[in-house]
Amino acid sequence: MSENIERRRFLKCLGAGSLMLAPLGCSVKEQTAQDAAPHYVMVFDQNKCVGCGGCKEACNKANNLPEGRSRVVLEQQSSAVAGQACPHCGKTDCDCQRKYVRVSCQQCQNAPCVSVCPTGAAHRDPKTGIVTMDASKCAGCKYCIAACPYNARYINSETDVADNCDFCLQSKLAKGELPACVQECRYDALVFGDANDPNSYVSRLLAVKDSVRVKAHLGTEPSLRYIPIVKLGV
């Protein structure tokens, strides 16, 4: 199972639960010091996601978020055109064609939220390169929310500060585990790992699958990859 391979690899990389060792631990013999910096990516496979929402619940629990709030939501989409026969079942009114898109922080390599934040609360973790929050610095100005092209940030109603998906950097990764949503997904729709490591499962997956990034033309260099449903027929 991809998830297990990935988990084993990941645990090995993190050593004794210490993220600091990740860049060192991951460096396989042929890698040199400078390309050892990780680039964590997440792959969302639209062909596998059934929209069960397990990832949302796991996120809520893992990150102690207020009731009903997660750092990820799923958008249901349909290629059916309103008023026309469904390309799938032929009926005009159906709900048979479901496809989902993960909506969450895209972990931009060139993150507008980080560059606009006046206090440095929205920042890039120096060791992992993951965009995360220092809640104790956030002034709640919402500049980052206005600046994020993916509308992927929100104000946590309990702490009154801004928040985004940080691949569970402060909750799961810190303990050497995979992000909560990745662990939870029973359908293997989520894969997480270091794209800079040629041997990681994500690297190998991305090498053989066509994946896309959302709004890549904005130049934010998102780290989320999507494997879209390949359109059948029509």
């Binding site: 006046p118 440095g120 206005a146 940030r153 500060v161 066509d210 959302v214």
Partner: protein, 315 residues
């Protein structure tokens, strides 16, 4: 294969920056604009007296920037976190740079107001404790004025840079915005200070200061219209995202705010009052105040339009 997959949902609801920010942009523009114009005139005519226009500008600049700060703080999700913006800095952030400019600008505006309103302060026994302070700081007046002129323009411009950094909104993400905000700040600031100078500080409506202002008004307004035209043209001729944002100018209620408020009241009002009415009315005090009010409300509509219509049309 980029672009075959999109999502339209988001995690935050509504616009990130609601009306208090538009009001702040308005106040900051008036404050910086009024003071810049007054100091321009002061340096240009090498005035040393406290003219009514300088008094009015200094008072307006101080009051509006104070109210603007109030809007900013109240718009934070928790106003008690305000100190964090003053303690932590990120020099890549326009907001952080703005905070630095404002924290020099605000005390300096207070100082300029103290000097400009010295006679008034002398007349009010309540404010007597300020007098020794004024005397002590007097040697710094000239350099303070020069510095605050730069800062006042910087504050006007920074409000434009602040929002033009938002790359997902084609109406807002344009390099012309700071220039537009400076021009409209100058015109509305001057209009507000003019009204106060005449109304409160008994300036003659036909004094030489007023004459200069009257002459400067039209070129500034022309520049403003030109900048707006540039933004509109860049949207019309731009990529698909820009073209769809152009809709903001002809559909929905914000287009009304633009055509009625910005164009009708802001540009049309003063033009009609000055050139389309008889000599008698256009020189009356009603026309004077009305056209001032038009300029100020037009600018408020402009800030509202840019902020709301801008955030409603994301790419």
């Amino acid at each position: 294969m980029d672009g075959t997959l999109e999502f339209t949902m988001g995690l935050s609801e509504g616009v990130a920056w609601p009306w208090p920010i538009a009001v702040y942009l308005f106040f900051a523009g008036i404050s910086g604009g009024a003071l810049s114009v007054a100091l321009f005139i002061r340096f240009y005519k090498q005035q040393s007296a406290n003219t009514p226009f300088l008094k009015a500008s200094a008072l307006i600049a101080f009051v509006t920037i104070a109210l603007g700060m109030l809007c900013l703080v109240l718009d934070l999700t928790n106003p008690l976190f305000f100190w964090r913006i003053l303690v932590y800095y990120n020099l890549n952030s326009v907001m952080s740079v703005g905070v630095i400019a404002l924290s020099a600008y605000i005390p300096l505006v207070a100082l300029i107001a103290l000097f400009a309103l010295e006679e008034e302060i002398r007349r009010l026994p309540m404010l007597a404790p300020l007098l020794p302070l004024i005397d002590k700081l007097r040697p710094w007046r000239r350099s303070g004025e020069a510095l605050v002129l730069v800062l006042a323009l910087a504050v006007c411009a920074y409000t434009g840079f602040l929002i033009s950094a938002l790359i997902r909104f084609p109406i807002i993400n344009t390099s012309v915005l700071p220039a537009l905000f400076v021009a409209s700040g100058l015109s509305a600031g001057a209009a507000a200070a003019k009204m106060l100078a005449v109304g409160l500080f008994k300036e003659d409506r036909h004094s030489s200061d007023m004459q200069i202002l009257h002459g400067a008004e039209w070129p500034i307004m022309f520049a403003e219209a030109l900048f707006l035209f540039m933004i509109i043209m860049s949207l019309v001729t731009g990529n698909a995202g820009a073209q769809s944002a152009f809709e903001a100018f002809h559909t929905g209620s914000w287009s009304m705010v633009f055509w009625l408020g910005v164009v009708g009241v802001g540009f049309g009002g003063p033009l009609l009052l000055n050139f389309a009415t008889g000599e008698r009315f256009s020189h009356s005090s009603q026309a004077f105040y009305l056209s001032g009010l038009c300029a100020v409300s037009g600018m408020m509509c402009l800030r509202m339009f840019i902020l709301y219509a801008g955030q409603n049309f994301a790419i």
